[in-house]
Amino acid sequence: MLAVAIAEQLPVQQAREGNPEAWDALFRRYQLPLYVYVFELVHNEQTSLDLVQETFIAAVRHIGGLRDDEKFGGWLFGIAHQKTIQLWRKHGGKEILFDEIPEPPDEFENSPDDLLIRREQEAEFMNLLNQLPMPQRSVLLLHFVEDFSIEEIAHITETQIGTVKSRLHYAKRALRKLLEEKK
């Protein structure tokens, strides 16, 4: 699973040229991470599948707008994020502002694998994740699922870097607190 962090050679240029095999390889690589991200935000299987499908269609249509091939993953998650937020707002979701939260201290850890969860804690982990407000959950999922950097998460969610840091810091602290309590 640590393979995510390793730089991948994705056939983005071939996909841009309309090669179906390249698209197949790209979608195969991202279909489950995208689904996990979207599902953990909307909690509905059919809606999540629809959002993944819409994301794939938008990716094929707008691949010309992607400047840096290495940022394909972040770009794809950005599309999925936008589509999820649009749906969320359509169903009356309210924007929760976290900008007033002070920035976390600099000893912020970057690796999602710092957090290890025992089998008996898995249910609690999922329960707590679902209790988090959507902006915090979104940031935490992007961190866990694809190990995106703070800058990439800020770009995907179209928020300030400081805001992403705050959200991630407080979400991880809440998770840690829970896991320590359960020990």
């Binding site: 699973m1 698209w23 489950l32 599948l49 094929v60 290890l116 969860i117």
Partner: protein
């Protein structure tokens, strides 16, 4: 012990066949959806227009739209400030030869009518050319 990623992925493994079906469907349509393929099919017909559109117009479409809006505004202002009489004159058709003939006859008749009551034309004034006084005296002696 598991990482959050492993936990999250394990929860959704069963949805993989559905995701595979979606992927296959989109990949099957990729050539139809891809803008690159569309461009390739259009390039054969109108390559210059396509090139102009892609290189000149599309990248600066906002600027072009702004320029077009400014020109439309200029035309609108110019059109609204035109003299209506001039426009009417321009709109009226050219007079027919019969009308021109009738007009000339009327003009001739009018000239004749005016001409009968016209006072005599006064004799033209003698032109005065100044000469030296010595010359005038010589003329008097000669007469």
């Amino acid at each position: 012990m598991k990482t959050p990623r492993e936990i999250l992925f394990a929860r959704h493994e069963n949805v993989e066949p559905k995701l595979d079906a979606i992927r296959r469907e989109i990949v099957g349509q990729a050539s139809r959806l891809s803008p690159f393929e569309k461009e390739k099919s259009e390039t054969g017909a109108t390559p210059v227009l396509l090139l102009l559109w892609r290189e000149l117009i599309f990248p600066c479409r906002r600027i072009w739209t702004g320029l077009a809006a400014v020109w439309i505004l200029i035309f609108a202002v110019n059109f609204s400030q035109r003299d209506p009489a001039e426009m009417m004159a321009r709109k009226s058709p050219a007079p027919s030869p019969e009308m021109i003939l009738a007009f000339r006859q009327q003009e001739k008749l009018l000239a004749e009518l005016i001409g009968s009551n016209e006072p005599r034309i006064a004799e033209p004034q003698k032109s005065f050319s100044p000469r030296p006084s010595s010359e005038r005296r010589f003329e008097t002696l000669m007469t």
